[in-house]
């Protein structure tokens, strides 16, 4: 889900002081390192995603928040 949706869901759950840190951009080659993704899926993504998207398929963030 998008970052703004994650933030919104944290807020709706009741959390405050919400932050997002330590961004990591995942390329298609990064995803291929995860054994969770079978080779067939990685191959399909290489075929379907344009090169610029393969360079940034997804991001990770560390969301921090506090229960008031």
């Amino acid at each position: 889900m998008p970052e703004r949706v994650f933030r919104k869901k944290l807020e709706r759950a009741g959390f405050t002081d919400i932050g997002a840190h330590d961004e990591i951009v995942f390329t298609i080659d990064d995803l291929a390192r995860y054994p969770l993704f079978p080779a067939s899926l990685i191959e399909r993504m290489r075929r379907l995603l344009p090169p610029e998207r393969q360079a940034a398929v997804a991001r990770s963030l560390v969301f921090t928040a506090r229960r008031p």
């Binding site: 330590d22 990770s60 229960r67």
Partner: protein
């Protein structure tokens, strides 16, 4: 609410139960075979100080402990602990008076994590089987909740975050590493259950 046909949600495509089972099957099938993920995400000294199986079982997407500010005496729960790499790192940071709880839905993963804790000589850990959508812990029972690439696997993410809120004590905090997608992947990818495993 209308859903654009080209931007389907996973549960819309294959159903929440099927999505959960697909994710579980993928995780069951993955027995640590590479330390590539851990070496990318963790410090070399952290990796060196943990059992090989915990390192090879690392499937996270970040380092939530760096942002958790854990201190001696705190109780921390690692939601979706897998083979236990974050649980073990957290346990060391809250020792000697604190404890870490590793929660996972798969008993196979809990067995691995417990074995890794024993191999590392870490005793201030407990293990619990359960889902994020129904965390088997009392209200306000932990100081800190962490997770690493897990919330995105849960069909009802709002429900999971409400459960996390419930178990964290007032004044407590969360540090949740997770994947965000700013732009949807093509439908041909989104309909593949394997795409929802990470």
């Amino acid at each position: 609410m209308t859903t654009h046909p080209l931007t389907p949600r996973g549960e819309d495509l294959i159903g929440a139960d099927a999505l959960k089972e697909s994710v579980r099957e993928r995780y069951r099938a993955v027995i640590g075979s590479s330390s590539a993920v851990a070496e990318e995400l963790y410090d070399a000294d952290e990796v060196a100080a943990l059992p090989r199986d915990a390192v090879e079982g690392a499937l996270g997407v970040g380092h939530p402990i760096r942002r958790a500010a854990l201190a001696d005496g705190e109780t921390v729960v690692d939601l979706g602990c897998g083979a236990g790499i974050d649980t073990l790192l957290a346990a060391r940071l809250v020792a000697p008076r604190g404890r870490a709880i590793g929660l996972d839905v798969l008993p196979e993963m809990l067995d691995r994590a417990a074995a890794n804790a024993a191999a590392a000589g870490i005793a201030n850990v407990e293990w619990a089987r359960g889902e994020l959508e129904r965390i088997p812990l009392p209200d306000a029972s932990v100081d800190v909740a962490i997770s690493n690439g897990v919330v995105n696997l849960v069909p009802r993410k709002g429900r999971a975050l409400a459960e996390i809120f419930r178990v964290v004590r007032p004044g407590g905090r969360v540090s949740l590493a997770d994947v965000v997608l700013d732009e949807e992947l093509p439908p041909e990818v989104m309909v593949d259950p394997d795409a929802w495993a990470g």
